[in-house]
């Protein structure tokens, strides 16, 4: 029997096991939405903005490891998801985005709500296709899901013209993909892996540096086995957090621009770097010419373009991280035999790192007047223990969360790393909550980021998504303010957010519980009450507007040249009030 394109679309999604679609309707996708509302297998989450849909799908995909699915209309519907696509492309998130397109006979005519969806999305998708014939729709959808999920995952866009969704074709879901130019390498080269294993056995100061690839590849067990067997400390990138327990004795936390002092020192003085699904981003490496100057480099990645892109690799291994580490662990087990020997070999190195950590641990001073953001994160971590999924936005609060929220499981840390998208956190938290309705999902955000997608509070209420929003309200684009303090003599150009809404009232307007902690003494009770609440909550927590995030490698600096605290002139300026501080000029940083 022949089916319409819209029916084929829904049937195909069913075959792919899709349960949830995030989207927003419009003229050219009405037929698809009409079919969607007449079935029960696939649930549509109606978002209030298409950007919200894209980030929710990202949150869903990051938390589950399954592809996130987006359905939006042509023109503005599509352009509104571009940020989400670019974010997913940077962070290798498997998304399949379906966009409506004007009818094929109108394409190129500047028709109403027409945009060159394929052209616009080309540089920010792994692959994209305009479906011109309804007979090709099912095959295209199958391939879109395959491409999004295989190799280095990424977003795929399928553009469906209106007439393709209404015309009819014979439907049979294809069982084969037909992509002769696409064949990701999974298992690594044995010879290379053996070489790496030999280097590992003789290295005195090795480091494992884990990126987001390890999370998508589900390699947490393999990493743990490797680290424990060979006694090698593990550092994680912002994207890699959770792939190794943050509380493990061998865990060194995050590295890079706001990484721990001990972590970055260990990187700098290491003699062997084992990069696992990481891509040597500039926020990680700092000054490339002085990055890990003494280290031999083993680089394992499924994407050949990541290897030797910015940094050299002595032993490149192309393959799936999990598969390669399994191969490597087998070899190491066979070579090893004597665990105590390895332990003895590594002992001085681990001792040295311990000394660095003792000398300069993460630190802040909580007083009775104003809440420090670190304090909130630390309390939140203590109160939720290891059972929360955490989504963050972008900025200071994100770095504090990365430093102080020591996640232990992969896929429980959802953040925008590569693109650094403010507004990502809240919808991503909702997407994760949709996938796991029973789990505790936190959104750690700030007043700047939250205002970029706050409209999704309506989605949270409609779909009963009890996300706990912890809003660190410092009245500034905090990271911008920090850089202005450090590098622009404290001139706060456009970083001050003076006219803030009353977030408690705002939450209440959406029928969400709003709580506020103005003083440090109120933080504990607000967090406890918020976490206990059954529905969504917004906790507006006033934090120190002038707290800076340390350690910090200034842009272009090397790993051993960290700033550990405010430079003396800044401390002086803060004390003496010579600093340009709006808060002192009568405007007040926090809402009255």
């Amino acid at each position: 029997m022949k089916k319409t394109g819209a029916d084929i679309f829904v049937e195909s999604l069913r075959h792919e096991g899709v349960k949830t679609v995030f989207g927003l309707p419009g003229g050219v996708v009405l037929k698809i939405f009409d079919v969607l509302c007449q079935q029960k297998d696939i649930e549509l989450v109606l978002t209030r903005h298409e950007q919200g849909a894209a980030h929710m799908a990202e949150g869903y995909a990051k938390a589950t490891g399954e592809p996130g699915v987006v359905l939006v209309t042509s023109g503005p519907g599509m352009t509104n998801i571009v940020t989400g696509l670019a974010d997913a492309y940077m962070d290798s998130v498997p998304l399949v985005a379906f966009t409506g397109q004007v009818s094929t006979n109108l394409i190129g005519n500047d028709a109403f709500q027409e945009a060159d969806n394929v052209g616009i999305s080309r540089p920010c998708t792994k692959h994209n296709v305009l479906v011109k014939d309804v007979n090709e729709l099912a095959q295209t959808i199958k391939e879109a899901f395959y491409i999004a999920m295989s190799g280095r995952p990424g977003p795929v866009l399928v553009d469906i013209p209106k007439d393709v969704s209404t015309e009819k074709a014979e439907f049979r879901y294809p069982d084969k993909i037909n992509l002769r130019g696409y064949n990701p390498t999974i298992s690594g080269n044995k010879h290379q892996i053996k070489q790496a294993a030999e280097e590992i056995m003789k290295a005195k100061k090795p480091m494992i540096y884990v990126g987001g690839g390890a999370v998508f590849s589900d390699a947490a067990d393999e990493i743990r086995e490797l680290a424990e067997m060979t006694q090698i400390p593990v550092t994680m990138t912002l994207m890699g957090l959770g792939s190794f327990p943050g509380t493990h004795p061998l865990a060194l936390g995050m590295l890079g621009m706001h990484g721990g002092y001990w972590t970055n020192m260990a990187m700098h003085y290491s003699d062997l770097l084992i990069a696992v699904g990481a891509r040597f981003d500039d926020r990680v490496t700092g000054k490339l010419s002085e990055f890990c100057p003494e280290a031999r480099v083993v680089h394992i990645d499924i994407d050949p373009t990541s290897i030797k892109k910015t940094f050299h690799a002595h032993i490149p291994i192309v393959g799936d991280v999990k598969a390669v580490l399994r191969q490597m662990n087998v070899m190491l087990r066979a070579m090893d035999g004597n665990v105590s020997e390895v332990k003895a070999l590594r002992a001085p190195w681990l001792k040295q790192i311990g000394e660095w950590k003792k000398a300069h641990p993460l630190t802040y001073k909580q007083d009775s007047k104003i809440t420090k953001p670190q304090f909130v994160i630390e309390r939140l971590f203590e109160l939720t223990k290891h059972n929360a999924i955490v989504a963050t936005d972008v900025g200071q609060h994100q770095m504090f969360a990365a430093q102080y929220f020591k996640g232990t499981k992969p896929r429980t840390w959802l953040t925008s790393g590569g693109l650094g998208t403010m507004g990502f956190g809240f919808p991503a938290a909702l997407g994760a909550q949709k996938a796991f309705p029973e789990k505790l999902v936190l959104c750690i955000t700030s007043e700047g980021s939250f205002q970029m997608n706050l409209q999704e509070m309506a989605t949270a209420v409609e779909h009963k998504l009890p996300v706990k929003i912890v809003l660190l309200n410092n009245g500034f684009h905090g990271m911008v303010r920090q850089w202005q303090d450090l590098f622009y003599e404290g001139r706060y150009s456009a970083s001050y957010l003076g006219k803030l809404p009353d977030f408690v009232k705002l939450a209440e307007a959406y029928n969400i519980l709003g709580l506020r902690a103005e003083k440090p003494g109120e933080v504990e009770s607000v967090l406890k009450e918020g976490l206990k609440h059954k529905g969504p909550v917004l906790m507006d927590i006033y934090t120190d507007p002038y707290e800076n995030c340390y350690p910090m490698i200034p842009a272009g600096g090397a790993h051993h040249e960290m700033m550990l605290e405010d430079p003396p002139e800044l401390t002086q300026a803060k004390k003496g009030g010579s600093h340009k501080r709006k808060v002192d000029e009568g405007e007040g940083v926090l809402p009255a």
Binding site: V118, R122, K126, N128, L130, I147, G181, P304, K308, K309
Partner: protein, 173 residues
Amino acid sequence: MEHIISVLVENKFGVLARVAGLFSARGYNIESLSVAPTLDPTTSMITIVTAGDDRIIEQIMKQLNKVVEVLKVVDLTETDFLDRETALIKVHTKPEHRDEAIRIADIFRAKIVDSSPTTYTIEITGDVDKVEALINLLRPLGIRELIRTGRIAIARENTRTTSPRREPALFKT
């Protein structure tokens, strides 16, 4: 250093844009580009002349391979290869230069494919040195218009015994 890269792709729309977009997005240079279907009408061959150090060329090869519709990438510069380019050169000829233009064309075995009282259009096919040499000789006569196809290239088959041919670096099979 200059490299000639052959990129075998699916003959579908949008593929050229993806390949070209990859170069512009990453700041790689395209000196010339030519595209046409191959013997198999479902595939096209894109020949790209580009330049860069080893690291950049390695990235270009990898990035090209990453494109879903790219079937095979070969850096011909690493093999023994033939390259050809065609140019159409419209020469403005004063009466006293008309013989000279014909003589120059003859020397290069170029063809005069169009003639008017004040112009000759000369067609030349050859490797890049030959084409450029002809252009340089015609320049003093006055070139009104110059169109070049960009280079196409193909690996040589191994017929000589003196220089054993290296296998082209195939990235995808």
